[in-house]
């Protein structure tokens, strides 16, 4: 894992509290699972019909009837349950999932999120992302702050088609952590060694700085 991803993942795991039911998106969010404190009772949900995802199976014990939403072979933890897809999204849409940690292509200052398509390229589909961002009690987005061209992914408005309107509760990047409130976007933390000026220079969106801004610990 790159340093940037390690930093983001280690910060993201602090969003998880003991007793929560959590959905982790495909890609970088999946890595958060490895960092959850072992004394926490946290159940991870998989959209395809499992509450209680366990670690990857040991070689030879993989089961084609037991996969996660990324189609990877997995195991279950004690106390896990299986259900159908309608039930799975009843949990999600019905507000029974405490926290969703998802990746993104763009986040806008009003909390809009874009993470499902790039026009002109192949459209793969939104999968469960639109339901998750609408239904989970809290939606935390983790992503790199700028794209490979150095352009801010934290925008005034999303340039890509959105996944949900005003759905982001908190954004964690390799530079900073922001909250989305009634009054707009607020910088609440900077990553180790990152100045407010650097965050400002690499962020297209407007934001305020929290009075009690903290620098994240290494």
């Amino acid at each position: 894992m790159s340093n940037m991803r390690t930093l983001i993942v280690k910060r993201a795991v602090k969003e998880i509290e003991d007793g929560m039911n959590v959905n982790l998106g495909i890609g970088m969010p999946t890595l958060v699972a490895n960092e959850i404190p072992s004394d926490f009772n946290v159940l991870l949900q998989s959209e395809n019909g499992l509450l209680g995802i366990g670690p990857f199976p040991v070689e030879g014990e993989e089961d084609p009837d037991l996969i996660n939403a990324g189609k990877e072979t997995i195991t279950t933890v004690p106390g896990a349950s299986f259900f159908d897809s309608a039930e799975s999204f009843a949990m999600i849409r019905g507000g029974h999932i405490d926290l969703a940690i998802l990746g993104a292509m763009e986040v806008a200052e009003n909390g809009d999120l874009a993470n499902w398509m790039i026009p002109g390229k192949m459209v793969k589909g939104m999968g469960g992302a639109m339901d998750l961002v609408t239904g989970a009690k809290s939606v935390v987005i983790i992503m790199e702050h700028v794209n490979k061209y150095g352009e801010s992914k934290v925008k005034k408005t999303c340039s890509l088609p959105i996944t949900g309107q005003g759905v982001v509760s908190r954004l964690i990047t390799d530079l900073a952590v922001f909250d989305f409130t009634e009054t707009g976007m607020e910088l609440i933390e900077t990553m180790p060694g990152v100045s407010i000026e650097e965050v400002k220079s690499k962020t297209e969106a407007s934001f305020t700085v929290a009075p009690h801004l903290i620098e994240a610990s290494k």
């Binding site: 990857f56 009837d65 939104m126 999968g127 949900g164």
Partner: protein, 231 residues
């Protein structure tokens, strides 16, 4: 009349060109492999297929795509399939992308006799275009319509001779919903037992939804992404 069929060829023989099929499975897990193969052999065309995914290039529903039997797909995620991309970009294949939870509920609703329902999913996004909205308690919701299929193709673990079904682990996924929403539901399973041998407490799909049940053999159950713990 027995629901138990011996031949997949016979079970799919009345699926006609232009029919709508609701097909269970998530990725390649819990897909009705044998019914899909029989349908490819039969060559039925112009199908509208409702399924969360469309298989891979050489597996699952992908084999019907490759054989140009599908006219339209209603799915939530189709990113595993190059033939899909080619046919979509060339205009041969029509695609209706539907959020996964909305798709599941549309199928469930169809099977439950509910023609439409409201959900907040997708409000303000491209999928809301052209859809009716309604506010409840100050929040906006989209009207989404239930889906009913001419046929449903489902895969379960076990069945009894009355078509009661039990699924295994996450291979359940969309299958119980698909089973409800087919005018004729064809369920393929790994084992058929006599009525009374399944515990009524543990049946996932009551046989009332299932018109035809078949036992398949040599299930491939391909794993899409093998991931194992590091030793």
């Amino acid at each position: 009349m027995s629901k138990v069929y011996k031949s997949f060829v016979e079970a799919v023989s009345d699926i006609e060109d232009g029919n709508t099929l609701i097909v269970g499975g998530f990725g390649l897990s819990g897909i009705p492999e044998k019914s899909i193969e029989a349908l490819r052999e039969q060559g039925t065309k112009e199908l509208t297929v409702v399924s969360n995914n469309c298989g891979v290039d050489d597996g699952g529903l992908g084999i019907l795509l490759a054989n140009k039997q599908i006219k339209k797909m209603i799915s939530s995620y189709v990113g595993e399939n190059k033939i899909f991309e080619q046919q979509y970009l060339s205009g041969e294949l029509e695609v209706e992308l539907t959020p996964q939870g909305t798709l599941a509920e549309r199928i469930r609703a169809g099977g439950a006799g509910i023609p439409g329902f409201y959900t907040a999913t997708g409000v303000g996004t491209p999928i809301a275009e052209g859809k009716e909205t309604k506010d409840f308690n100050g929040k906006t919701y989209l009207l989404e319509e239930g889906i009913v299929g001419d046929f449903a193709l489902v895969k379960a673990w076990k069945a009894d001779t009355l078509g009661n079904l039990v699924y295994r682990k996450t291979a359940r996924n969309f299958n119980p919903l698909a089973a409800m929403a087919g005018k004729i539901t064809i369920a393929e399973v790994e084992e058929i037992v006599e009525a009374g041998e399944l515990d009524p407490n543990e049946i996932h799909t009551p046989g009332i939804y299932v018109q035809r049940v078949l036992q398949g053999t040599n299930y491939e159950k391909r794993i899409e992404r093998l991931t194992v713990a590091k030793a």
